[in-house]
Symmetry: C2
Subunit: 406 residues, 2 copies
């Protein structure tokens, strides 16, 4: 017997028929003797419709009202799933965020879970009752509904699993696991049986949209075992676990890429102390995340070129922000380029093995791909290259690191 939290996303509960299919999966776990809590998203399209209403009535809207309106989508699904389970003879009830409660901070629209009082639910689960919980929602300190931001249902599921001491948190989605890279680009990509939290985080942060980053961070913090699997097949998925659980660690686990990048270069910036702070301070104030940064060595000790990347979304605002400080910064020119892609090689194995980065640079060089910017972390090497080389680079690296399926 195990205690399991299952999470089903919007496509898995798209309509009544699919909600019935979800109930069959829930019942299967119950019949196997397991204790089950289920976290559900809104039916496909519902959240967009509700957000559309809000945006239609108000341009700069009160996030508290937004939350109250938008949280209804998950509320409906949770009630319907509880009803379907009851029809199948499974004892089930819905628990809204404020009923459990799932306490969050007061950041409406992008709240963070602070505490879950799961005692009553814990007692019910022990009696074999199924708990159905709307994802994405919680209760703020102001006694009003909060939402966790788009995709927040993954976080709801992980937080609930941790609070309930669940043996596993199964995230059902429309892909059947985490792959060594995007199978649409590399048909030889393999589904990973296991991946570490750290690797999953790096994968998520560079565009592999299988799991919400915050959900993985939370799972890592609480050591909550996760499984990513498909709600449309019966294959086992990918387990996201602590490094200790992976006996034979590959050097590289996956190749990820993100086209959502734009590069900004300030030409001939004055090369003096404090110039980096003068540039990145205003960007931070404008809530613009800067990712990769490279500063060239100055020729004459007086001026240098500075290059950095932001997301496509933030490009226009970043350029405007920098230009408004032009006089202070004293750069000669600002050029930007959004026809770039960030390609990342990820693996916890590279902590203890040298040469991973070198192999990446060499592989790309052999294909004649010029590297524009490089950044590294403990378990990741990322490079920025011209966007048109995306597929070529990903395929070459996938082969070079021995990831191709036989």
């Amino acid at each position: 017997m195990a205690r399991i939290v299952q999470k089903f996303g919007g496509t898995s509960v798209a309509d009544i028929e699919r909600i019935r299919a979800v109930a069959v999966r829930v019942k299967a776990e119950v019949d196997a003797g397991n204790e089950v809590a289920v976290v559900v998203s809104a039916m496909a399209g519902v959240t967009n419709q509700l957000v559309g209403y809000v945006e239609e009535v108000a341009t700069l809207y009160d996030a508290r009202e937004y939350d109250s309106v938008v949280a209804t989508g998950e509320q409906v699904t949770s009630g319907l799933l509880a009803l379907v389970l009851q029809q199948m003879g499974v004892e089930a009830r819905s628990w809204l965020g404020w009923q459990i409660p799932i306490h969050t901070d007061g950041a409406h629209g992008k709240a963070r879970i602070s505490r879950i009082d799961a005692d009553e639910m814990d007692q019910r689960l022990k009696k074999g009752h199924v708990a159905v919980v709307p994802g994405f929602q919680g209760l703020g300190p102001d006694n009003r509904i909060t939402t966790l931001g788009r995709g927040g249902s993954d976080t709801s599921a992980v937080a609930l699993a941790a609070a309930l001491g669940a043996d596993r948190c199964d995230i059902y989605t429309d892909v059947d696991g985490v792959y060594t890279t995007d199978p649409r680009i590399v048909p030889a990509a393999r589904k990973l049986d296991k991946i570490t939290y750290e690797e999953m985080l790096e994968m998520a942060s560079v565009g592999a949209k299988v799991l919400q980053t915050r959900a993985v961070e939370m799972a890592m913090k609480y050591g909550q075992r996760l499984q990513v699997l498909s709600s449309f097949s019966d294959e086992p998925g990918t387990l996201v676990v602590d490094e200790d659980e992976i006996v034979e660690q590959e050097l590289v686990s996956g190749i990820a890429y993100s086209r959502d990048e734009a590069k900004i270069t300030l030409v001939k910036v004055r090369d003096k102390p404090g110039v980096a702070a003068a540039i990145f301070g205003p960007l931070a104030d404008a809530s613009i995340n800067v990712d990769m940064i490279v500063q060239n060595v100055s020729d004459d000790g007086r001026a240098t070129d500075l290059t950095f990347t932001v997301t496509m979304n933030d490009l226009d605002r970043a350029v405007a922000t920098i230009e408004s400080f032009r006089d202070d910064l004293g750069y000669e020119d600002l050029v930007h380029d959004s026809k770039v892609v960030k390609i990342s090689v990820i693996g916890v194995g590279m902590r203890s093995h040298a040469g991973v980065a070198q192999q990446m640079f060499q592989t790309l060089a052999e294909k004649g791909i010029n590297i524009q910017v490089i950044s590294t972390s403990e378990i990741k090497v990322s490079v920025l290259v011209e966007e048109e080389y995306t597929e070529l680079a990903v395929r070459a690296l996938h082969t070079a690191y021995g990831l191709d399926a036989e």
Copy 2:
């Protein structure tokens, strides 16, 4: 300065455009210096869609889940109206049933309001903030959402008005007030400026569907002044008030009719003590409301005919219930007829004036209309006649009691 609760039904908040029109009405009261709380229904069609989902997934459904699903309709409207008001520069927020809270009993799907803790809202209203409250919903003793039954938003509004000590509760609907009778039948029908709670109750109970009966009962209990008016015009509506407020009371205030009646006659029932209890006991047990009852004088002291009415809806069940007790009751035959209409003359003035019933019988006799059953209350006389005489009877009575507009 006055404190006003405004209630807008489903057609008044049918879409975003109409919600904007509602906000204009709310703002007008605020601009006039009034304190305003607003109760809203779900957008037109939403409740039906949600009920449809529930009925699609479960035949005999858990009313607690039904409530949680269906209450979302009003939740969405309340958030949207608060947002529109904010856009117009009006300080406003939504208050869900569980946030206020509006305490109810535990009868999910048809709960009754037990208590409203309106202290915090009271403070906000004094500061000029507008409270937007989803109608139809409350919080049960089980800490779960309850709903008050279809049309319950009227009751929400009256209960909130009473709790807030409001000067007036304005019920906006798609008719512009209470008429002396159905204007579709009698073009000369007049809109009443004022009507008493008792008369409104009798009107509602015999088919004038302007206000929910429970809402009127509650208004009467708390002496809460009500106004029924149209959200599509600027005309004043009809005030529903205590009898004391109406200086010059008409003898008769209105003529109502209900086609939703069916007549059952038990032929030659044994005429002995306890037979009425033996008949109506099983009907009460089956939750079938019996309205009019008439028992003929027995010819020979041994058998008599007994006639009573039920709603059309209950006819089949009533007949089946009676027939299952046939051996005990020992009647000779059971005949039923649903081609009947109940016509009622209503007016508090008849308490102090004799002759109202007599005038009704005489008017109908002059038109050759046979009366099948008669029942009276302190302020109402009702008769059952053949359905095809509906319009003729209503028109004749409207004229006879001097109700026709000049």
